[in-house]
Amino acid sequence: MLIQIILVSIMALAFIMTWRRFRQRVIPLSEALLWSLLWIVATGIVIAPQISTRIAHFVGVGRGADLVVYAAVPMLFFLVFKLFIKHEELERKLTEIVRHDALRDLDKN
């Protein structure tokens, strides 16, 4: 099916990019392995959707597609929360700079 060809191509591309970034020392080995695992599992599910159905049945969910959605929600929640924390850290660093700048005026006086 066309959708399978498109998705597998994307996964393959993502897999290649992951290891290219590893070679460029952008991401550590542990992260490269984690992403690779994700792409391989996703490719497996795309090629043989019945795998996800079997896992879904195992955990008590009706359809494999539903399981994928259920799993995606907490993952996205986690990623968004991580972004919020990163944002707050940046805000605090900005405050540090502004504070440093303000206190320099005190030393001048």
Binding site: L94, V98, R99, A102, D105, L106
Partner: protein, 226 residues
């Protein structure tokens, strides 16, 4: 004992002058932190006799307070006094807040609106909100129940305490954060009754019920930041 008052100010050009003139006779120096107001706040404060620091960008009340506290310590303060810049905190209460520090019976003193001194014009909605905040502080933040005023910005610390209390919340969550840090430390703390004067203008600019949710969220995030 050198007492330095810290007034974080954001767009207070109409009220900062009076606030400073009210506080100045009772302290040795005043540090005003103009939190990126972009109006005449800094000029009015300088005219009134305060040492003025400027945040180039608006970073929030907590951030300005922290900057001012560090400035006060550099100026050689023995006692750092936190006061609002909008004149809500009645200067007549300042000696009451300072007394336990002067006599050495406490390291940190919090001014409370709920210890007998009746606040003028406190709206019922504010009263309910503060009661809810107190419960939230107790369960979610871990601030003892015997703290009567969960959002008091009227407080004084010894220089030693001011160096110890490492508050990092930039916006309004610093009140709860300071309470948590102080009540969990070895510092001796107490609450004293103070008078808060609510005016229509200060209420308009003050915190809205929605901000309570925001504060809760900030405190949650703060738990995960580095």
């Amino acid at each position: 004992m050198k007492i330095v008052a810290v007034l974080p100010a954001f767009r207070e050009e109409t009220r900062i002058g009076d606030a400073i003139r009210g506080v100045l006779p009772l302290v040795d120096a005043i540090v005003v932190v103009d939190d990126g107001s972009g109006d005449g706040t800094a000029e009015r404060a300088e005219e009134a006799g305060a040492v003025v620091l400027r945040h180039r960008l608006n970073r929030g009340q907590g951030a300005a307070l922290r900057t001012g506290t560090e400035a006060a310590l550099r100026l050689g303060a023995d006692i750092v006094l936190h006061v609002d810049a909008d004149g809500q905190h009645d200067p007549a209460s300042i000696p009451v807040v300072l007394e336990p520090l002067r006599s050495g019976t406490a390291d940190v003193v919090f001014g409370s609106r709920f210890l007998g001194q009746e606040a003028t014009n406190m709206p019922t909605s504010r009263r309910i909100l503060l009661a809810a905040a107190r419960t939230f502080n107790a369960f979610a933040v871990g601030v003892p129940r015997r703290v009567t005023d969960p959002q008091s910005g009227f407080r004084a610390l010894t220089a030693q305490a001011a160096r110890t209390v490492d508050f990092r919340q930039d916006r309004f969550a610093h009140c709860s954060e300071i309470l948590r840090l102080v009540t969990r430390s070895n510092l001796r703390w107490m609450e004293v009754p103070v008078t808060i004067r609510y005016s229509e203008e200060s209420l308009r600019k003050g915190q809205k019920p929605w901000d309570a949710a925001h504060i809760a969220w900030q405190l949650l995030l703060g738990m995960f930041v580095r």
